[in-house]
Symmetry: C2
DNA sequence: CTGAAAGCGCTAACAC
DNA sequence: GTGTTAGCGCTTTCAG
């Protein structure tokens, strides 16, 4: 019970492989009789062409790959929905690929590029520390969407990126708290270093404090060790318990939601007893009670600009560029004036 | 600036394609000198083998594909995390593929099977109405994880499934509300028909009511038209406004969370003024305030049983089977006694 | 309009 | 150990 090949279909329909190939690829130069016959044989035998063989022989495509690091990330899911139609509108096909947190997106990209003869790549989530040699294997244009190479050493002319400024955004979030009169502001982060988004946002927290002349109280920093809600919850409980902040800045919405829950479980009311602010603006945090106040990433623009830059690169109408987008305060009900 | 092939690497390292192929595939019968030389050439030229060519020539694999319909679904993300290690433990590699809501998972499966010579397939999310002819093109064993072919016409011996009984689970949810004294129970669903999970769960709602001798009040049924939170929110607002239920049964956690928010925005307290119960048990609803009461799907068991059945099928040690798993009441704080 | 034949890049006998 | 070679299934000239 092996699989049928194009050869079998040719034999079964009394024609040649080239004719079958033609109907498969919807070429016009096939007689209607032949086309019908072939189609019939294909249908009744459930023939499915072998894509590997096809990809092997096709040396070009109009495919742009989306390589995504972070399966469950709802923010990425939202970006995809915006990216796809834009890509199609520009005449490209999109091919989505998820990689595991432990995998290297650049290796995945190089393989994909070769396999599918990609025209370009959009990365959703990846390392912040690429080196020139890391990207040497990638011969097509690519853009990092929603993150930058903050800790790496790439020449700006060799890649593109569209993202928010994480340090500044975190600063703004903390400043919002400051403006509302808060002084004991906790930070709920993944870790202080590691060259990740957590480090950048933590640095923003630090600079906001220091610019306001507030000395850092180490007990106010809660490291969850991951971006998981459960870890964030535990870290928030510990943080609240030991440091009694009047407000918490969480580096992500998910962690902010976990902090709100921690507060509730400790009989603190948000925002009366504890204010919470975060960064991201995912759909879910809009349905919290109270709605989470957050600095929302401009998802739409992030996605659209990424596509446009990439298209420009492919069509040689543009050059590698780096766009920093503004976040907007999505005022919920989780922050109050003290 | 085209890509290097195995032939180029052979030439550049002064050896033959077979030797290069051998080091690529980590065969032992290569002299250490040759291996080093080849590795060096590969590294310095950023050579990446063409997977299409490899897949084409390899006529077997130990790959099991996970075909997922529903990108953003957090429940599926959780299942994947459980499935992967179990698959590896059984000696299989996993290959994850997401398809769009508009795509047909069976077509995708057939193509993948052919392309990668799959050993088996696990579907996460799919249509409920396969016909025998639909699956004819799939020659390897497959299991539907977390859904069943409730509206289709497949012989049970031709496929496997592991899922909860949606009708009974919905019934239980509504019965829980009934036991707590509720009589005006609203249903927040996607739509009443359409052969989807929404229909099944709605039928469970209906049967619970009728068995309790409660006449159906059509105004108590809120159809959101989708599973989106925004649509569910709007439907909940309408439902609450027109029918004044004391409790709402939502067919999914996400929709339940939206209902809680709708209540809050209408100045109703959950659970004091309105109780809410749902089905799924996703992580997020655990962080709602109050925690959403829900009938949790046994994610772990769903995933594990799926893998085990598939492995049994592949190794000819088992037969196609259909497992119905029990949900468990995850009592949160969103339901109260009236 | 149709068919024969030449590869696409790679793996795996098979010979040496 | 190593090289030669025959395909894997498909698309695409190139003749007819």
């Amino acid at each position: 019970m092996s699989h049928l090949t194009i050869k079998d279909i040719a034999r079964l329909s009394g024609t040649s492989v080239s004719t079958v190939s033609r109907v498969l690829n919807e070429h016009v130069d096939v007689s209607e009789t032949a086309r019908q016959k072939v189609l019939e044989v294909i249908g009744s035998n459930h023939y499915v062409p072998n894509n590997s063989a096809r990809n092997l022989v096709i040396r070009k495509s109009n495919v742009i790959a989306l390589i995504i690091r972070g399966r469950g990330n709802p923010f990425f899911a939202r970006l995809i929905k915006i990216i796809e139609p834009r890509l199609n509108k520009s005449g490209y096909d999109m091919s989505v690929h998820y990689i595991d947190t432990s995998d290297d997106e650049l290796k995945a990209a190089a393989m994909l590029e070769r396999e599918k003869r990609l025209k370009g790549i959009i990365f959703l989530g990846g390392r912040f520390n690429y080196l020139a040699d890391d990207i040497a294997a990638i011969k097509v244009p690519f853009v990092c969407c929603s993150y930058t190479n903050a800790f790496g050493a790439l020449e700006e002319g060799n890649y593109s990126s569209v993202a928010i400024d994480d340090r500044i955004t975190a600063r703004r979030a903390v400043e919002h708290l400051l403006q509302k009169g808060h002084r004991r502001i906790g930070a709920l982060i993944e870790r202080k270093d590691g060259g990740s988004i957590s480090q950048l946002r933590y640095e923003g927290y630090l600079s906001a404090l220091s610019d306001s002349g507030i000395a850092l109280d180490a007990s106010l920093v809660g490291c969850a060790g991951s971006f998981e809600m459960s870890d964030a919850y535990a870290a928030a409980v510990a943080l609240i318990g030991r440091a009694r902040p009047t407000a918490i800045f969480a580096i992500s919405d998910l962690m902010g939601v976990a902090a709100m829950k921690a507060a509730a479980d400790m009989k603190l009311r948000v925002p009366d007893d504890l204010s919470v602010i975060a960064i991201d603006g995912i759909e879910f945090s809009n349905y919290c009670i109270p709605t989470l106040t957050t600095l929302a990433q401009p998802a739409e623009e992030l996605a659209l600009r990424s596509v446009d830059i990439l298209a420009g690169l492919i069509e040689k109408k543009g050059v590698n560029s780096h766009v920093l987008l503004e976040t907007s305060l999505r005022a919920g009900g989780s922050v109050r004036q003290v």
